[in-house]
């Protein structure tokens, strides 16, 4: 498969081409649903330049005040696992390719790479880079910078961390404006491009990486090419100003953005937004979100995070939890929808989910109408749970008191208390809640010193195969269990299928493998309480250019380059 974006093409043509090619290459299984979105046009002869929705009406200038979840504890975005970094730093940088910020349901679009070709075996990606781009320190952007960036990400120096998992074997500079990535194993094009479009893979200069030897922890102003430039950073905020030399002549629209650090889900955050001290806020608490929706001058959106997230993980190494019948019984004893309802006291919405998202797993609607989640099948689920316990040799419950490690938070405590009560009431399974502070969770998770553990969330990502490997399999490099495999889950058939799933390029076959993987997890049930949380955003109506729908992206894809202020 080979395709190229022509500079002479209009944007509409490019968009259609992108959609068609990806549809052919990847098929409906892995394609995000395409939403009807306005198609901005580009002048003939221009490279790929995007404009804001309503570009013709857009006003320029002004200061956009963002209530941001932060601040970052350090600035090495490649070593960070928190949105505090990627959210705050993204506007200063560009990615090689990106998700369309105007509608996250659209496919990947160019950024610093204007076009790319993919070898037929899916192992080599060749990117043509944008010319005439400069870093904020005045140096020219070239293929060397792309190589230096991805070498830092994929092959970090021994004393540095990288939390990104990219299947890149080698990045090769072909010429000043062409770079090639050779993969360590095949990936379908949507998965690999979506991986590159993750907000964490920002391109920085080779000069800066050499200067700091790749260690950017203390460097809050390492040069990027992004739409905004560093202005100042204080203990409360981070201010960035418009990049006057930005390569996109249409963007950014505002002159200044100020990230104001306000913690997620707090009254302070709600007060700052509702009191007009910020223009946009992320991760509002349920009450604040309702107030936003009720205010005619404001808008809001809910977004369900597509993470593999479960509220309770079972230690599958420990008897009797090493028996899948016991795990399934514990799962059936809990009204899974009730878990979501408890969660909804703390986050604007939460939904029961399957292990894998559709098309591999079931949708929320399907789950809620089928056994064991449908309202009419609750009694059968409880009877089945008791039968499974009897089959496993525990008809009258278990004498042992299980150690249930719970991450300290009101939400986790309530969920754990519900599970504790139901297990004892219905199955005679007693637990002792061991509430621990977040930083003590790591020790418990890594050491496996628990029977059950709460907050067994496993972060999502564009590469579902890699996420599953991280959550339920072994690390191929070390041969040990993966670092997020809290449940110590081991299943040879699962591992074999996962290997195939990860490298499968044919959509139909990939979907079939995904469904098999999902079925194994449902049979083995290493976790229960699989829930996806909704995140709420709110803003004043004068903030224009924001996506009106939730998508498969979060704050990490926001560079704020197409947002403008109607005031």
């Amino acid at each position: 498969m080979k395709w190229r974006l022509r500079k002479t093409s209009g944007f509409l043509g490019l968009l259609v081409a992108v959609v068609l090619v990806l549809a052919i290459a990847v098929g409906p299984a892995a394609m995000p649903a395409l939403a009807a979105a306005p198609a901005p046009t580009a002048q003939p002869g221009e490279p790929f330049y995007m404009k804001a929705i309503d570009h013709d009406k857009a006003k320029r200038g002004g200061t956009l005040r963002l209530a941001a979840h932060g601040p970052p504890s350090m600035f090495d975005i490649y070593a960070s696992g928190t949105i505090a970094n990627v959210g705050a730093q993204s506007p200063m940088y560009d990615l090689l390719v990106r998700q369309d910020p105007r509608d996250p349901k659209l496919p990947i679009v160019p950024s610093l790479a204007t076009s790319w070709t993919i070898s037929s075996d899916g192992m080599t990606y060749t990117f043509n880079l944008r010319k005439g781009v400069k870093f904020h320190d005045g140096t020219d952007f070239s293929a060397e910078d792309v190589k230096a960036t991805f070498d830092r990400i994929v092959f970090p120096p021994a004393n540095l961390l990288s939390l990104r998992s990219l299947p890149i074997k080698e990045t090769v500079v072909l010429d000043r404006h062409t770079v090639q990535m050779k993969l360590s194993e095949p990936r379908d094009s949507y998965t690999f491009l979506a991986l590159l479009a993750g907000g964490w893979n920002v391109i920085t200069s080779k000069k800066a990486l050499d200067k700091y030897k790749g260690d950017l922890k203390q460097v809050d102003n390492f040069p990027g090419t992004g739409p905004f430039m560093y202005k100042s950073r204080t203990t409360e905020s981070w201010e960035m100003v418009r990049n006057p030399n930005y390569w996109n002549p249409y963007a950014p629209y505002v002159d200044r953005i100020v990230h104001v650090w306000l913690k997620a889900w707090t009254p302070e955050l709600a007060a700052a937004l509702l009191g007009g001290q910020v223009d946009w806020a992320m991760w509002l608490d349920p009450s604040a979100y309702q107030k936003v929706k009720a205010n005619p001058n404001m808008s809001g959106v809910l977004w369900l995070a597509p993470n593999l997230s479960s509220w309770i993980g079972f230690n599958t190494d420990r008897a009797p939890l090493n028996d899948s019948r016991v795990r399934r019984a514990l799962h059936l004893a809990l009204d899974q929808d009730a878990l979501s309802k408890i969660t909804q006291q703390f986050v604007p919405t939460a939904q029961l989910m399957d292990y894998l998202p559709p098309p591999y797993g079931k949708s929320y609607e399907e789950l809620m109408t089928e056994y064991p989640n449908a309202a009419g099948t609750r009694e059968k689920a409880i009877a089945d749970a008791k039968k499974l316990m009897a089959d496993a040799g525990y008809p009258n419950g278990i004498a042992k008191t299980f150690n249930f490690v719970v991450r300290e938070s009101p939400q986790n405590r309530q969920l754990a208390a519900y599970a504790q009560a139901e297990w004892e009431r219905l199955l005679g399974v007693k637990t002792r809640l061991d509430v621990v502070q977040v930083s003590a969770m790591v020790d418990r998770q890594v050491a496996g010193t628990f029977d059950m553990i709460s907050h067994a969330a496993c972060l999502g990502g564009a590469d579902l195969g890699a996420t599953m490997r991280m959550c339920y399999s072994i690390n191929k490099a070390t041969g040990k269990k993966s670092d997020s495999n809290f449940t110590n889950f081991k299943n040879a058939e699962f591992d074999k299928l996962l290997d195939q799933f990860s490298i499968e390029l044919a959509p139909q076959r990939k979907a079939q493998l995904g469904r098999q993987l999902n079925q194994i997890l449902n049979n083995e049930m290493p976790n229960t309480g699989l829930t996806t949380d909704g995140r709420a955003y709110g803003w004043y109506n004068y903030v224009k250019g924001l996506p009106k729908v939730g998508g498969n992206s979060d704050y990490n894809t926001y560079q704020w380059d197409f947002v403008w202020l109607d005031k």
Partner: protein, 318 residues
């Protein structure tokens, strides 16, 4: 006086040193992994043992506890108070940026407490068991009893829900924009000032009631001195000492960070910094701010003790 001052200053050293030891040990006893704070759960989990060892070495966490304590003392001596684990900021930055806001709130609150407490206390004492006295006592007890953070929350919610108004959330200093600065500090200062004012009124009343029964006040009245002069020159001057003691404590508390009130108003002062650091287990920030508060208390107490001699000629330190 000089000898007394020197003696008191000498005592400050072991006091502060003792406090540093207690803080340091207490912080080490708290559970928590600094690397989780810096890199997040996922980051800390995905570190290899070698990476963990390198990072801990770089942070000085692998040094013996005594060495860590020594390094902290050295840093304090050089004015380097360490760096937050969760933010890319140093403690010095916090103090320099947020300290003035807290100082402003503390001073305003103390002044306001006098402006409220003295008149109410004097009227109550001079008109005991009258309606005015009852009203003064009622409101004094009311403002003492109402938790400041609750009053703060009510004020903030009222302003937001009824007037769509929230005071500035980024520090604005009086020399930058006095009006915005006033909006930021007025709420916490008034809430704290009312609470402190209730205390001051109670103390002034009881102290003045006691003093006006003294022989020298009776003598002054018998000599025909005007009542206002009797109160102002003879009674109030002696009654003021307990108020000074209490006010110094108030000021110390307020300077040490009006933690709950700053949190309620969302004012970025040192109190809010402290509470956030405690909740996040940001040990370097907690450790150094607690030390700062101790030093503030010690200094304020010293100044208060010295002021006694100036206010009351009967008190001599030499």
């Amino acid at each position: 006086m000089r000898k007394y001052l020197a003696r008191r200053l000498m005592l400050v050293i072991p006091t502060v040193l003792g406090v540093t030891m207690i803080i340091f040990i207490a912080m080490r006893l708290l559970p928590g992994d600094p690397l989780v704070a810096i890199f997040g759960l996922e980051g800390a989990r995905r570190m290899t043992p070698e990476q963990r060892a390198n990072l801990e070495q770089a942070l000085g966490l692998r040094d013996p506890v005594v060495v860590q304590y020594g390094k902290w003392l050295r840093d304090i001596g050089t004015g380097e108070f360490g760096k937050s684990l969760l933010r890319g900021d140093s403690v010095t930055q916090f103090v320099l940026r947020r300290g003035p806001i807290t100082l402003e709130i503390a001073v305003l609150a103390t002044l306001l407490s006098w402006m409220i407490g003295f008149p109410v206390g004097i009227i109550s004492a001079l008109r005991p068991n009258t309606r005015m006295d009852y009203a003064g006592r009622f409101f004094s007890i009311l403002f003492v009893a109402i938790p400041g953070f609750w009053l703060g929350l009510v004020a903030v919610l009222t302003l937001i829900l009824w007037f769509d108004y929230k005071a500035p959330i980024l520090p604005v200093y009086p020399w930058e924009n006095p009006w915005q600065n006033l909006q930021m500090v007025a709420g916490p200062a008034v809430v704290m000032g009312l609470g402190f004012g209730g205390f001051v009124a109670r103390i002034v009343r009881s102290s003045l009631l006691e003093v006006i029964q003294e022989d020298y006040v009776r003598t002054a009245r018998a000599k025909g001195v005007h009542e206002q002069l009797v109160i102002a020159r003879h009674a109030l001057r002696n009654a003021i000492l307990p108020v000074i003691t209490w006010s110094s404590l108030f000021l110390g508390v307020a300077l040490g960070g009006s933690v709950a009130i700053e949190k309620a108003f969302g004012v970025p002062g040192l109190g809010l910094t402290m509470i956030d650091a405690i909740l996040d287990r940001d040990l370097p920030v907690v450790q150094n701010l607690v030390l700062l508060y101790v030093v503030v208390f010690v200094v304020v107490n010293l100044i208060t003790d010295l002021s006694y001699a100036w206010l009351d000629p009967r008190i001599r330190y030499d």
